[in-house]
């Protein structure tokens, strides 16, 4: 580490020897400065005096929590700053934890330093042009990290303590940040918070850092997720990584990958190569096992778990066509049946062939492959939404099978068989887990016509399943699931479906869940309040958290960022802080956080004219 520090000092020397680089282009000075008046940054004419602050300095020091996002449980942020260079960073790490926690912490510190560099407006490809000349005090100033993690094994679970304590203090030319956290995950959240106490300082081409602050923080919800659908359109690994960067910056901790659907199967399974051969959109629209392993590590070091989903018994089709060729019979039915409107909710149709027992063998093999790729899987998503009874009931093979077995062909009979399917699939998952000696994951499942007391009590074991709610916030089904005692995650579409508000992709008009869910709606949506309204109880133990979903019928690599961000950050504060105040009071911090997302390379959408960022509290409705 010493070598590194001396090298960096050397970089500084070199830079000060180089004269007048800064004037590459003609640039005007600015007449504006900012002053923090009663927790609001006010834009003022400097009139040539230097007493006013830059916008960034004002933002990170003004108000009780500066520009921290999401809002910590408790924070005191001082209003003094010091200039420093992000190269002047030292650390001492005390690691009393198991697993690879200590290695993760090393990596997290490197990411933290990189994030500081990213504040530079001309940051590119891992470095920023820090060019002086600087004050001797800026050159001398050092940020020292003193991090202690007390335990944990480097694996994020629903029981992991993500809390942390952060104390920033400054003595002469050293600012020390003391971080104490029960686990690695708390410590990385602390580093995230610390990075938000710094900003770029335009007039000196250095960073400013708040000199004194104390933060004591823990999340309100355990499950803070985003869903990305990689089947309707392929999303490349690079874009998923960028999504993880955004999630890390806003302390979201779960990326739910809706890996497969009827449209395509992008996941290459070495033991079942036919799935991607038949199912991928193109030879390059594929995730290799190594891609996914790398992604999982990329996520973990940023405090994020992956939840893989293999949807069934509906939403299957492409990738499963090879059954007859391999003498396994039709694995799926209703594929290409016309008109599709009669057999599914969107084209192309496809559902598992319940009459063909081979589906369970293949599913078992798919699960084994998954366990080999994703290590560990704490939560596995079974999908389980939008099954068309008409599809099954219009397929001769299935109707005959239902009749032969004496089940009948009423809707109830099909729901019952759906239950049987679900239990058999879960047994396959359990068996696959046992076969390679890992824990059976929690099963996650979408709300649907099957998630009703008469079926779920028979087929869904409360200790093994988590129910993900996607209905709107007033659906009585939410109350039934909670009252039956299931653990739930909220994704009610009226607030947390991020694909709403585009044109319909089949036919004309706007898509089904229009209008667009603005960040205010995302921010305001409160799971506890929804539960309270429907049941008179907050169900604090049962509600694990929430997740916003980006279904990708009308999104791909080209346009993921602006749809996820900054709305994902609004979700982040709801789930981390569960604020009782309105979006309006969060807005100045939110707008500033959007700039941070951009520093991290995310093309987050604008929510207001920049004028509102510079003129706080004047863009009222």
């Amino acid at each position: 580490m010493k070598v590194l520090v001396s090298l960096l000092v050397c970089l500084a020397c070199l830079a000060c020897l180089t004269p007048c680089y800064a004037s590459e282009f003609f640039r005007m000075p600015s007449i504006w400065g900012w002053e923090c008046v009663e927790d609001v940054c006010i834009k003022k004419d400097t009139g040539g005096s230097a007493t006013l602050l830059t916008l960034n300095t004002c933002k990170i020091t003004c108000g009780p929590a500066g520009a921290l996002w999401p809002l910590p449980t408790m924070a005191t942020v001082g209003n003094e700053v010091t200039n420093f260079l992000p190269t002047n960073l030292t650390h001492s790490l005390t690691c009393g934890a198991g697993g690879d926690s200590c290695q993760l912490l090393q990596e997290a510190v490197a990411i933290f330093q990189d994030n500081l560099h990213r504040y530079h407006p001309n940051y590119k490809n891992g470095s920023a042009p820090w060019v002086g000349p600087w004050d001797p005090s800026t050159l001398r100033h050092k940020l020292h990290l003193d991090v202690t993690i007390q335990g944990g094994d480097g694996i994020l679970t629903l029981n992991t303590d993500e809390s942390y304590e952060l104390a920033v203090s400054t003595v002469e030319s050293v600012t020390t940040a003391v971080i104490i956290a029960p686990t690695f995950f708390g410590a990385r959240h602390a580093l995230e918070t610390l990075s938000q106490l710094a900003e770029y300082h335009e007039t000196t081409n250095s960073l400013v850092l708040v000199t004194n602050a104390t933060v004591s923080d823990a999340p309100a919800f355990k499950y803070r997720g985003l869903l990305v659908d990689t089947s309707r359109n392929f999303i490349s690994v690079g874009v998923l990584e960028r999504t993880l960067e955004g999630m890390a910056s806003t302390k979201l901790n779960t990326l739910h990958l809706h890996l497969t659907d009827t449209h395509s199967w992008p996941l290459y399974l070495p033991g079942l190569p036919n799935m991607a051969y038949y199912g991928a959109y193109s030879p390059s629209s594929i995730y290799t096992p190594q891609d996914m392993r790398n992604l999982q590590h990329y996520a973990r070091v940023r405090g994020i778990r992956l939840v893989p989903e293999i949807d069934g018994p509906a939403h299957v089709g492409n990738g499963w066509q090879w059954g007859p060729k391999e003498d396994l019979g039709d694995l799926t039915v209703c594929v290409n049946q016309e008109p599709w409107q009669d057999y599914c909710v969107e084209p192309p149709c496809g559902q598992f062939n319940l009459a063909n027992p081979n589906i369970y063998t293949v599913l078992g093999n798919v699960y084994k492959e998954l366990f080999n790729i994703f290590q560990p899987i704490e939560i596995f998503h079974f999908g389980g939404d939008e099954v068309s009874m008409n599809c099954w009931n219009s397929t001769d093979e299935i109707v005959n099978w239902m009749m032969d077995n004496g089940f009948g062909t009423g809707v109830d009979a099909y729901l019952e068989q759906w239950g049987v399917y679900q239990e058999k699939a879960r047994q396959q998952l359990e068996a696959a887990a046992n076969a390679i000696d890992v824990n059976e994951p929690f099963g996650m499942i979408w709300t649907s016509s099957f998630i009703e007391p008469e079926y779920m009590n028979t087929y869904l074991n409360k200790s093994k399943y988590i129910v993900q709610i996607w209905t709107n916030n007033s659906d009585p089904q939410i109350a039934r699931v909670l009252e039956e005692g299931y653990k739930v995650v909220f994704s009610n579409y009226d607030a947390w479906y991020l694909d709403c508000g585009a044109g319909a992709w089949v036919g004309e008009g706007n898509n089904w869940c229009s209008p667009y869910k603005g960040w205010q709606i995302v921010y305001t949506n409160s799971p506890y309040e929804i539960a309270m309204d429907l049941t008179g109880n907050e169900y604090k133990d049962a509600i694990l958290g929430g997740e916003a979903a980006l279904w990708t019928e009308q999104t791909d690599d080209a346009t993921v960022d602006a749809k996820l961000w900054p709305r994902g950050a609004a979700l982040g504060e709801r789930l981390w802080s569960n604020p009782s105040t309105s979006w309006y009071s969060a807005e100045p911090r939110f707008i500033h956080h959007r700039h941070r997302l951009m520093n991290r390379g995310i093309m987050a959408d604008r929510i207001q004219p920049e004028w509102c960022h510079q003129n706080e509290e004047l863009c009222y409705a």
Binding site: P29, S30, E107, Y278, A502, A558, T559, E610, W611
Partner: protein, 720 residues
């Protein structure tokens, strides 16, 4: 630490080498203008999706659809970019010659970009090198080198993150490519887009593919290099393949027609996965010319700033759609980012930051960049409303209040439409000379044929509340009523127009464009002004403008406005937005001529208006608008594309619409959108990729029933 870095590097390299390349089990047949997916083992002749898309249907994947005769053969020939050459460039003007070379560069860049492994981060605007003083360049180079040296040492110690490693590896690959590939030795390696092209990598291709030549011969008959409203943009193109040579013959009157031809030519070419090569339609004839003269896009850089590169990307995307007008709403009440040589105070006080200013050299560069892409830039100085930022220095410099209604503490909604409020002070005589100076600067920077003078959202309530106006009216014994406010507005507009003419100088005519309003229709001279119509498509007042004989540009806000996707940044949806988001189909179907026809403007598609002037000469065309309240460079591209592409076909082709027409348009716009993404535009997909790979699958119920009905009809009719 070192060990760790080494192992991760090794892993990444291994992963890129073991890149999984599954073959595809599907082949595609062209049936009823659609590419139908079939099992590869079931067909005698394999045809890839890309080949099918290029050749299936009358128009293949051309966008916008040509208006004249089109013939495409159903075969393609394979070639590599190195063997595409422009063998003839016939023009009598050296200037056109130079411009053609730039158009070819752009075209060559695009065909490299279609390679699926082309590194995304290198897809950026293609600027010509700017003259830089040598000492400055040398200095910059030295600083760069020093920095790189330090970085290299630093990198051995620091752990690289994953992305960096990938980039690093890619760069190494490219360097290697450069050395390895013998056959590209004589190719123009001075272009960065060539140096990083994956086409340069060694591939075991058949000699037929390696040796196939594509020769392009261009003839431009007119030496006129100016772009104006009446420029002849037509072109004629023939592609013919004999043995191992494909000859492309382009004939156009002007440079602008020729560059459109290059655009169409790039749409006859796509990547061929099976041969790692390009493919071009074997034999082609296209005759083409636009239906409307004005095919525009407006971007607002006043509410949020867009870096120069973002504007260039936008111009690239516009040129891919053969659009020809960029209406630049530079300033608004929120900021004034244009640097004025004559009035530097404007940007000093009005820009968001010193980094967020368009300096004169930026603007001339953008204007030149646009021109090469067949696009004219129309600058707008919005007035008298939508002005505040940048105008606040008047009192300091003894010129009195140039702008009214900007007092802090006064609620914005009492004096304007959105924060920040502000409106120019029409009774301050100091205002007009300053306007004149700004117009002069604009004319120098932009060299425009038209200037947009704004004229939207004028708030009489502002003038009602402003003491300066109250006092002025009282002093002149005028009442404070709306008639007088109209008169005030008229005074302002007449003075501003006079200043514009003065700035243009004698003998030069610059046509002002102004937003439609009850002021515009009642006060302005139809022979002087062009009106931009923002009315909803069902607003019958549109007909008034035509009947009065105004030249018009359509910009129906409910059909052709690009923002409005989110709730307004102030709360509810903006009043001027349609309740439903206009989709690409709205953009496509909104037809100015049909609209006029339905409003009783007799025979709008071909006939005469009440004034006896041909309607088609009054309707210049249309323009999509993007107001940037909640948009900047991050979200702009996906809000604009591919919806503006739909507008582009409406204005280039003006298709007459049966339902089926929409249907083939959907298939082509899907392909076109994908091509735009390949060219580096972040366009939104309108459907899952599945719908492109199975063109019969994603239909709505009406279409299904219509199809079933035709099918029945066909069966009922006895064969002849």
């Amino acid at each position: 630490m070192k060990v760790l870095v080494l192992t991760t590097l090794a892993v990444t390299v291994a992963a890129t080498q073991n890149f999984y390349r599954l073959p595809t089990p599907y082949s595609y047949n062209c049936r009823e203008s659609r590419c139908i997916k079939t099992d590869r083992t079931q067909v005698t002749e394999y045809r890839s999706l890309e080949t099918c898309q290029l050749t299936c249907g009358k128009y293949g994947s051309l966008w916008p659809q040509p208006t004249g005769d089109v013939q495409l053969s159903s075969e393609t020939v394979r070639f590599v970019p190195r063997n595409l050459r422009v063998t003839k460039r016939a023009t009598s003007s050296p200037k056109v010659q130079g411009m053609l070379e730039e158009a070819e560069r752009m075209f060559r860049r695009n065909i490299h970009y279609v390679h699926p492994e082309y590194p995304q981060e290198y897809k950026k605007p293609l600027t010509s090198d700017r003259p830089v003083r040598i000492s400055e360049a040398e200095h910059r180079f030295r600083v760069q080198q020093q920095r790189e040296q330090v970085q290299q040492v630093g990198q051995q110690e620091q752990q690289l993150n994953h992305q960096q490693q990938q980039q690093h590896n890619q760069q190494q690959n490219h360097q290697q490519v450069q050395i390895d590939n013998e056959s590209y030795r004589n190719y123009d390696m001075s272009e960065e887009f060539v140096r990083v092209s994956p086409f340069l990598r060694e591939h075991s291709r058949s000699s037929q593919v390696e040796n196939q030549k594509v020769d392009v011969e261009v003839t431009v008959t007119s030496p006129d290099d100016k772009l104006h409203l009446d420029t002849d943009e037509s072109y004629n193109m023939v592609v013919q393949t004999v043995d191992d040579t494909t000859t492309v013959t382009i004939l156009a009157t002007t440079y602008y027609g020729a560059r459109h031809a290059f655009e169409s030519l790039s749409q006859l070419i796509s990547y061929d996965e099976d041969h790692s090569s390009l493919q071009i339609v074997r034999d082609v004839k296209i005759n083409d010319a636009p239906k409307f003269k004005f095919r525009g896009l407006m971007l607002d850089t006043g509410r949020n700033f867009y870096p120069k590169e973002d504007l260039m990307r936008m111009l690239d995307a516009m040129s891919q759609n053969k659009m020809n007008y960029f209406h630049w709403h530079i300033t608004d009440s929120a900021s004034f980012p244009m640097y004025s040589n004559r009035r530097p105070e404007m940007a000093y006080y009005g820009a968001y930051s010193p980094r967020k200013i368009y300096y004169p050299e930026d603007i001339t560069q953008i204007v030149q960049y646009a021109k090469l892409r067949g696009i004219q830039v129309i600058p707008e100085l919005d007035a008298p409303a939508h002005a505040a930022a940048g105008w606040s220095w008047g009192e300091k410099e003894g010129k009195g209040k140039l702008v009214l209604c900007t007092e802090k503490g006064q609620p914005w909604f009492e004096v304007g439409k959105e924060p920040p409020s502000g409106q120019l002070n029409p009774v301050n005589p100091e205002l007009y000379p300053i306007l004149g100076e700004l117009y002069k600067d604009m004319i120098e920077f932009f060299d425009p044929d038209m200037i947009h003078m704004g004229g939207d959202d004028v708030s009489f309530r502002c003038w009602q509340n402003a003491n300066e106006i109250k006092e002025y009216l009282a002093a002149n014994n005028r009442e404070a009523n709306s008639r007088e406010y109209f008169e005030l507005w008229n005074t302002f507009q007449s003075n501003a127009y006079a200043k514009l003419n003065e700035a243009a100088g004698q003998g030069r005519k610059i046509t002002p464009i102004i937003h439609s309003s009850s002021f515009a229709v009642n006060y302005l001279d139809k022979d002087a002004y062009v009106i931009q119509l923002n009315e909803f498509a069902n607003d019958t007042s549109i007909a008034d403008y035509v009947n009065k004989g105004f030249k018009i540009i359509f910009s129906n806000q409910d059909q052709w406005r690009l923002d409005c996707s989110a709730n307004s940044w102030l709360g509810d949806k903006a009043e001027s937005c349609a309740r439903e988001l206009p989709t690409w189909e709205h953009f496509y179907k909104n037809s100015p001529m049909d609209m006029l026809f339905n409003m009783g403007v007799s025979n709008a598609r071909s006939g005469q208006s009440q004034t006896g002037v041909e309607t088609s000469t009054l309707v210049l065309g249309g323009e999509a608008t993007l107001w940037s309240s909640d948009t900047d460079g991050n979200g702009f591209q996906q809000k604009a594309w591919p919806r503006v592409s739909a507008l582009a076909e409406r204005l280039w082709t003006d298709p007459i619409l049966p339902v089926q027409g929409i249907d083939t348009a959907q298939k082509r716009i899907n392909t076109h959108r994908q091509r735009m993404v390949q060219y580096g535009v972040r366009a939104d997909p309108i459907q899952p990729e599945y719908c492109m790979q199975d063109e019969g699958a994603c239909y709505n119920k009406e279409y299904f029933h219509a199809k079933a009905a035709t099918h029945q009809q066909q069966q009922a009719t006895p064969a002849q």
